[in-house]
Every structure is written in C-alpha cells, then in structure tokens.
Symmetry: C2
Subunit: 442 residues, 2 copies
C-alpha cells in the first residue's frame, strides 16, 4: 500500500520562482509537510486528495512506518479512511529523511509543534530543527510555508534571517516564504480545511501568490486573507485567546452561579437566547495544546498580559475547584474510590496534552483518592465496566458523546456522588447518587 | 398637550389578582413607571403606544414638567416624536407624586437607577426610596416589576421582604412581584423593546403570567424567558459583563499590536473574517453607566472577581495609555492645546456617566494640557469651529457618525498630531498632521 517517493514524477522543472504559482495550479507541484502531527498529517492528506503529490516528513521512524502502512498515529476516524485513499492513489507517502525529501519538493510546509517547555517558555527546538533542515537543502525556486503557531515576529525575526543565513539565498527572489497559521479545530480538518478562510502573511507578493495557489487547490472558493507575517501570527493568537477568555468568563460565571445558589448553564442559555450581544460559551474545562498555551505566545515569554493571565488562572483553577467541592461534601478524599470518565482535553479526542481532566486526576490522587480512569478513545485507560465497579464518586470529566447514555450505569454503580463537569446529565437521572455539577447550586 | 392623570379611566376594578393578566391583555390596565430616566421613559412611552395607559413618575419636578410639555430630558431624537404622540393620544402622562399615582395603577414598574457610589459600592438609595413608596401604597391586586439592574439576590433578599413588611400584604397572593431586567442598548429602545426576548424572574407563576402579558402588549410575538428572580438578575449581568470583557480583550489586543508594530483593527478584521469562532469586538473606549459598573454588581460589593477585575483595569487604563502615547511623542503636555472631539461614552449618545472620554479630558488637564471639548450632542461643550482653532493635538474620542466627515477640517486646523481612538480615519486623510491611532503601529 505504501508508495515510494521515487515514484513521484517531478513533471516540470521550473527555472524561475515566478513559475511556481502556475505549477501548483496545474497540479504539477510536489509538496512536503514537515511534522506529521495533528496539524501536518491531515493537511498533507487533504492536499494529496486535492491533486498534489505530497511527502510527509517526520523524524519518528515508527510513526512514519505506521502511516505508510495506513495507520493513523492518533484518534481521527474520518482521516483514517482518507489516509488509505491518499496512499492507494499514490499521492501521499511518508519519510523520515528530511533533506533528500525537501529537494524533491516545490513547496515545504512546516507544521512542527511549538509546545510549552517546563519553564512555561515556548519550546522552539522542533521549529529550529525543521528550519535548519530546510535551509540546508537547496531552496532555489522553492517556497517555505510556516504553519506552526508561533510568537508574533517569529517569521520576521527568527525564520527569515535563519533561512537566509543557512541557505545563502535571497528570500523573495530565490525562494518564497510565508506564515499561514493553522486555525482548525483539532479533529475537524476534514471539513474546516475546505471551509475556513486562510490567512496568508507572506514576506512579499510572489510568496503570497504561491501560498494562495496552494490553498486554492484544496478549495478554489476558499477565502484568502492576505496580510503581513506578524499580523498573520497575531490574528491566529487573537482568535484562540478570544475563545480561551470566553471559556474563562463562562467558568467564572459558573462559580458565581454556585455561590448564588443558581444553575449557570440555564442562566447562560437564558442570557444568550435571542439576544444579539451574548454568545457566552458553556462552562467546563478549558485547556488542551492550543488554547492552553497561546496566551503565553502573545507576550513572547515575558510577563502574562493582565486579562489573559486572569483567564489562565481561572481555567487552570477549575480542577482544584471541583476537588474542593467534593471535599466540602465528603470531608477527606483519602481512600475514596473515584471513577473519572474522560481524560482527553475535549470531546471526540484522545489528546491529553494540557488536559484539565488529567490535572484533576493528579490532584485527586494527591489528596489520597483511589482514582480509576476510563476514556473510550484512550486504550491505555481502564474499561468503563471496571471503573464503575462500586466507586464512591463518579466524575464526568470529558464531554464525549459516548457518555450521554451512561447515566443509568452510573446510577446502578452504587456511587454516592456523581459530579458532572459538563452538565450533560440531569439531577433526576440519578435515584441513588447525589448529583453535583460545575456551576450548579449545591 | 399634557394630559391629566384624572382623565385616565380605570375601566374595570378587579377583585382578584388572578384577573390581572386578562385586564392587561384587554388593554384596560394602567401602568406606572417609577423613574423617568433612559430606561423608564422610553419603556413608558412604548407601553403607552402599545395600548395601555401609562403614568411616568419621577421626583424631579422640572423633568416631569418638561416631559409633560413634550420635551425629552436627554438626547433621543426618535423617542422625542414618540413622546409627543403618546401625550397627544392621552395615553401617557407624568407626575412627581408617587403615592397617589401608584394607587391608580395596576402594574408598577420600578426603573430607578442603581449607580455606583463614591466608594465603588452600589448606591441603593433610589431603589429603597421607590420600594418604600410602592410598599406604602395599597398594593392589593397590583403587580410590581423591578427593571433596575441589581446585585443578584436583590429581589429575594431586599425587595420582597421590604415590600412584605411595609405593606403587610402577602406577595404572590395579594400582590405580584417579578424581576424583569432591562437589556436594551441605550438609544435603541425604539427597536429593541419590540425585538429582544424578555427575561422574567417572577416570585411565582401568577406573577410571571402578569409580567408576561405586560410585555406581550408591546409585541405579541416577543420571546419570553421565564426563570427565578436571582437567575434573571444574573442573566442580565452575564450579558453585560460578557460584552465588557470582550471589549477589554480587544483593547488588550490593541496594545499588543502597537507593541508588535501592527494595526489591531486590521488584524481583528482578519481574525473575524469568515471564522466561526471569532467575534472579537473593535478596540476603543469601553465604559458608560451600564458596562462600567455591572462587574461590581456580580460580586455584591465584595472583592472583584479575577477576570472582571482584569477587564476593568484594562478598560479604565486606556485613557492613561493614550496620554502616555501622546507624551511619548510630545514630551510634556504642559501648555499643549488639545481639541477633544466627543465626550459621551458612546456614539449617538449624550451620556457622560463613566465615560472614558471624560476621564481622558481630566487626565490631560492634570498634565497641564489646555483642553477644549466639542460633542455635537452636548450643548454645554464648545462648537467644533472653536476647538479646531489652531490646536496642537486633536483627539477623536467618541465615534459619533457626525465625525466621519471632519478629517479635512482637522487637517486644515494645523494640528501636529491627530489621535484617533476609534480608527475612524485613515493615515492618508491627513497631509500635515501625524496620524496616531489606538492599537496602531507608531
């Protein structure tokens, strides 16, 4: 099923960078995507299904070998079928040899991660590694697109000078360069890559034209928004931070509603219903690998800006708030058997990076609770039948749709308390257990 | 043109509170509105034009006499015509005698202000006064609706026990009681009273039915959302605080964009364009009598909650940020002649309560600047021709539509700097002056 890179035909060798937009348009360009994570792999597959030849590059050989044999390295059922289709068409392959792959491609898209390091700084190591590999290849008449989320100014102050120095070539003349930040919801690339507008922050017009042709291959009616590299980086962060602050505010409302003896979810529904100026999100955990860190990027590892800091403190405090609510009910958690349903940071995901549920589990264990975790998408967790064997407390911690039907099983488990972080259930779903929910009157 | 209260026919005396919904529906009920401010007066006029007889009550005799002669006490051109229509129909009158008016009415709507006192506490004096007047009247078979914005729990913990004690009557049996908080944009009552859903937080079902019939008189298709009194109070605050925090975040983004040498308004437009998860507001002043104080109500005069506090600090800091930007350009402001265009807290308003523009003027004067203010809606300010007589700096501080055309006059004024808080103008509107804007690269 796997396709050799060598089977790709480099249909037309171009002699000028200005020919590249046309080559992409004709479907004759070869694209390489560096970093086969949750951003890069779906993008590579979609580009391969859009009429381009794609090489996915990752330094993890085990991952590359799995992908070549048609296996997704993370939970994404739709994309699994699409990967097999792209492989069998011969339009997609994977490699762990950056240098030789890059020189067979016309467009290089960098999608490596920019995670948080242990000092809450942005860890640039993957981006530096990728840029070095790219710079050391012959970039003549090629285009480099950086899709990783980055500190504003990364393209202008880090990527551009680094590529220029390492390659010895002239950006904008010998090679093209643009920042096109990813803005897709994890797990929604199969629809959103087609539908969302694309922000292109290119270093010059030609670079912008090249990046534009690439994304128009996915959908020729895609809305293209062209701006400066730094503005593109900022726009991405603004979108994510806006959402994150909205979630924090909903969580703050939830805590106030509890204090006033009212139910936040119902009040928020009332406040939003038909009111053009309210789009208050639902309360619940807010975190994960994008929203959980993007506030740190905005201010470039210096101090947090005030409102983002307040939002971060609030969202990160929700697991502790829930632990405190349980302790208010039970006294000590020492020796209490707690079943946690859901470990991923959001519904329909298996991603536990910066997941508030994972944080909750750690805190519960720190207080001496005996915590058993089930997540339907994470096979390292226990089966639901096992975690529901006579627990004292059940916590619904991730709003996976699969959990909508488990209220009866929870009720039968004999637990004393069900704590519903997402207000998925109703109090009268439970005949035996006391029902508690985040943002609900106690 | 004025109508005597005595000309109102109390068409049918009801003998039971349960008859009141029907009486309202038939248009035979008389309504009194206590507090003829920006909430109460438009509501009274609209109810009068919706087929009910209305008495507006205010302790300010001068205001009452003006209203009776057809003059609006504040800037609201559309409502001015509607007032005259309601008066000439004989459906509306005004009075400064609460007690005698209340006993001629079936429904009493309390719309008095709950402003902030000098200690940043909510000033309950107007609400207490109104409730006392209402309680001392005979409330038998009457309904009391509180529309003032209040600390959550005000209806249950303050209004209900007070009315019960003073009147000696039984709430829900002898009289009806509901919290129906105002959620209309100042200056938009003439459309929004018809269109917006109404939140009714009644103390019991009958009280809810009565309040519902009242609002359905305005528009029989109005969406009615029924909940508890405290939830209604919270829903109102959630809506306003959500907006206020959104404005703060936009302002934070503006400051970051300045730091990164980019233009916030353009980036926010890019981030929002076609992206379903971004509805980032425009940067600019955020304040005024509603948004500026509602965060204080949520936590009942104790400490501010974290995110609202951060939002408040940010929004209240924008005038100082602008002063600092000007000082960065000019060194000292001492003796600098500054024309400020706009004093109201928002466009199309004459309301200066908690206006950031008014705060800006105070700070500029504190730094020794010679500040001249023009606002087309505030006749106590200077004419625009006078403030534009050779100023050093012009500041566009309120986004009144009238200002869209003044760029040429500003340019001709010979000023050295134009500071555009709202990004209403473009840099190339100005040939002489340096153009600066909030959230723009310097």
């Amino acid at each position: 099923m796997s396709t050799n890179l060598t089977s790709f035909e480099h249909k037309q060798v171009i002699h000028m960078l200005t020919d590249l937009p046309q080559k992409i348009k004709k479907g004759e360009a070869v694209v390489c995507v560096i970093g086969l994570g949750r951003v890069g792999l779906p993008l590579g597959i979609v580009l391969a299904l859009s009429g381009l030849q794609v090489v996915g590059i990752d330094i993890d050989k085990h991952k590359v070998s799995n992908i070549k044999s048609g296996k997704m390295p993370f939970y994404y059922p739709v994309m699994h079928g699409w990967l097999q289709k792209a492989l069998s068409k011969g339009a997609f392959t994977a490699s762990s040899q950056p240098k030789e792959s890059i020189e067979q491609c016309d467009v290089i898209i960098v999608t490596v991660g920019t995670p948080m390091g242990i000092h809450y700084q942005i860890d640039y190591s993957q981006l530096h590694f990728a840029i070095r590999e790219v710079g050391e290849a012959d970039l003549t008449n090629r285009a480099v697109i950086v899709r990783s989320t980055a500190v504003p100014g990364t393209m202008v102050n880090i990527v551009l000078p680094m590529l220029k120095r390492i390659s010895g070539l002239r950006p904008g003349v010998d090679f093209a360069l643009a920042a096109c930040p990813e803005r897709i919801l994890e797990g929604q690339a199969h629809t959103e890559l087609y539908e969302l507008p694309e922000i292109i922050g290119a270093i010059d017009d030609l670079s912008g034209d090249i990046a534009q042709e690439l994304f128009l291959k996915i959908n020729s009616k895609k809305v293209i928004l062209r701006t400066t590299p730094t503005a593109a980086e900022l726009a991405k962060l603004f979108s994510n931070i806006y959402r994150y602050v909205g979630f924090a505010l909903a969580n703050e409302f939830a805590i106030w509603a509890e204090k006033y003896g009212e139910n936040a979810s119902e009040i928020i529904r009332t406040a939003n219903d038909g009111y053009p100026r309210s789009r208050i999100p639902k309360p619940g955990f807010a975190g994960g690998p994008c929203l959980g860190k993007d506030g740190f990027l905005l201010d470039n590892n210096t101090t947090f800006s005030s409102i983002v800091s307040a939002a971060w403190k609030l969202n990160e405090g929700i697991p502790q708030h829930i632990v405190a609510s349980l302790m208010g009910e039970l006294g000590s958690l020492c020796g209490i058997k707690i079943a946690v349903l859901g470990l991923a940071f959001k519904a329909n995901s298996d991603d536990v990076r910066l997941s508030p549920s994972a944080k909750l589990v750690e805190i519960l264990r720190a207080y001496g609770a005996d915590v058993l975790v089930h997540d339907p998408n994470i096979k390292e967790t226990l089966p639901i039948t096992e975690v529901l064997q006579s627990p004292d407390v059940v916590i619904l911690a991730t709003n996976h749709p699969a959990f909508t039907d488990v209220a009866a099983s929870i009720d039968k488990s004999g637990c004393k308390i069900i704590y519903d972080v997402w207000n998925m259930f109703k109090p009268n779903d439970f005949t035996m257990a006391k029902y508690m929910g985040f943002g609900r009157a106690k």
